[in-house]
């Protein structure tokens, strides 16, 4: 679900015996358009962007939040606070599966108390990461509201969680992988493999 942007070619190289078809569902232009529209929707739902704060969930949520932050700064005429919140230590599946992932450092340069928090993801899938992120945000204060923005919603929810601002709905098979990565040209794209 969360995916680290990979070096170009790493994922698309077909392995012998296990060819994985790879299709681009959102290219750099598509991402730019979608994020701009999402920023406008966020501004509309949060009048004046008052007390608005973006909270990116690494790794994939970080570049998306940076795009939203640029657009929102233009719309609001000022910078919107941006935090990075690693949710590894809040997940319900981290203990008990094989190798434990190394958590990334959280940077929350503001209190969430009274804020209108928008959690930012690249892809929302089962909803478990978002669930963990909601718990994590509450440790930084009691927000007035929590909303969710995701570049892609691919369905298959396992928890009653709904995305407020979606870049694109992409129907997928459960076994497929959807990830935000950098293309050979260094631009972001969303691919399904």
């Amino acid at each position: 679900m969360m995916s680290v942007p990979r070096t170009p070619g790493e994922e698309s190289e077909p392995r012998p015996g296990a060819p994985r078809p790879c299709r681009t569902v959102l290219d750099a232009q598509g991402i730019a358009r979608a994020s701009k529209r999402m920023a406008h929707e966020i501004a509309e739902r949060n009048p004046g962007c008052e007390r608005l704060a973006l909270v990116a969930i690494p790794a994939g949520g970080v570049p998306v939040a940076e795009l939203l932050s640029e657009h929102l700064a233009e719309i609001a005429g000022r910078k919107i606070p941006l935090g990075v919140l690693d949710v590894t230590l809040y997940r319900d599946d981290v203990i008990g599966r094989g190798t434990r992932p190394v958590p990334q450092r959280t940077r929350m340069p503001f209190s969430a108390a009274g804020a209108r928090v928008v959690l930012v993801e690249d892809v929302v899938f089962t909803g478990r990461t978002v669930r963990a992120a909601m718990d994590a945000v509450l440790d930084f204060g009691r927000p007035e509201v929590i909303q969710i923005a995701s570049l892609v919603d691919r369905g298959h929810r396992e928890l009653p969680i709904q995305v407020d601002f979606v870049g694109k709905n992409i129907p997928t098979a459960r076994a497929e992988r959807v990830e935000l990565r950098r293309s050979a040209a260094g631009e972001y794209e969303v691919v399904v493999t």
């Binding site: 690693d86 590894t88 230590l89 809040y90 981290v94 203990i95 008990g96 094989g98 434990r100 190394v102 958590p103 990334q104 450092r105 959280t106 940077r107 718990d135 994590a136 440790d139 930084f140």
Partner: protein, 303 residues
């Protein structure tokens, strides 16, 4: 990685993984609400059979910040005084469904022995003069934090090398991470053949300090010294104690570490311990983060 018994057994990648995890853990201790739910419902048993305040409290706080239940057992008042063997006691503690056992003992090899006999992961919190892996890791973490990296740095470790488990873990951690390690201390306290570990023995404090990036002072452990290995405290301080004047031989931005508890005026002058280059209290803060990392990576790990 199933147990954490010594730095010597770890690969460079495992050391880096522990240090990177500790970065994230450090941030948790800086929050207003210093607790994450990761190890909720897990039980950490701290079996401390040798007196300790700092390390025991550090492990207890680390366990609690990860929401684990921490149970402390000390030698005094335990059934060891009823002649129960250590292995039987550990088996009984493990039978209460502990998820990790943290062990400190005055005898080298006890954590290893228990790891072979119980089904839970074991973390060595210091065994005799063998190793103190979490101290080595927190020292490396503190150097990385202060200087931005360890590779190519010169690290002087000064004091009773022969009796120090901290020195042993430090030597392993710093050489694994590509530092140049120098050792200095009275000749009776430098083990013969130590250069086989890839370190450089120095014959004087000044030689060890010359151009060093990091100075690790070791505590004179009077409780481990049997017989007269050195002529006396004053003589020791004169030859091997770190003063401001001597520290001037190190690099201008050099930092000073000490595993504590410090003997002011013996191995380290009071004004040096409280000076700007001293990172002694950062080490204590970082110790909690490193132990959280070890507990996170090991608790409930599959056999």
């Amino acid at each position: 990685m199933r147990h954490l018994l010594g730095i010597e057994d770890l690969s460079r990648e495992e050391v880096v993984r522990l240090l990177d995890t500790a970065e994230a853990m450090l941030e948790i201790s800086q929050r207003e609400i210093k607790r994450v739910p990761t190890l909720r419902g897990r039980t950490v048993i701290n079996l401390f059979l040798e007196p300790s305040t700092r390390t025991r409290v550090s492990f207890e706080i680390a366990a609690k910040r990860l929401s684990a239940d921490a149970v402390n057992v000390s030698a005094a008042g335990s059934s060891l005084s009823k002649a129960e063997t250590l292995a039987d006691m550990a088996r009984n503690l493990a039978a209460m469904n502990a998820d990790v056992l943290v062990v400190r003992d005055r005898t080298a090899g006890v954590p290893q022995m228990l790891a072979e006999r119980v089904r839970v992961p074991v973390i060595n919190a210091g065994d005799g003069a063998h190793e103190h892996p979490t101290q080595g890791l927190l020292d490396a973490f503190t150097v990385r934090q202060a200087l931005g990296g360890i590779e190519g740095r010169s690290i002087a470790i000064v004091g009773d090398i022969a009796h120090s488990r901290v020195a042993r873990s430090d030597v392993h951690v710093f050489t694994k991470l590509g530092a140049e390690v120098r050792l200095a201390g009275p000749p009776t306290m430098i083990p013969v053949g130590i250069e086989q570990l890839g370190v450089k023995p120095c014959s004087s404090l000044d030689e060890a300090l010359d151009g060093a990036d990091v100075v690790c002072m070791l505590r004179i452990q009077q409780e481990r010294l049997e017989g007269a290995l050195f002529p006396g405290v004053r003589e020791y301080a004169r030859c091997w104690g770190l003063t401001r004047a001597r520290l001037a031989r190190a690099r201008p931005d050099a930092i000073v570490l000490h595993p504590g508890p410090i003997n002011r005026g013996v191995e380290i002058a009071s004004d040096v311990a409280d000076s700007e280059p001293s990172r002694i209290l950062d080490q204590v803060t970082n110790g909690v983060a490193v132990r959280m990392a070890a507990l996170y990576l090991l608790t409930g790990a599959d056999s």
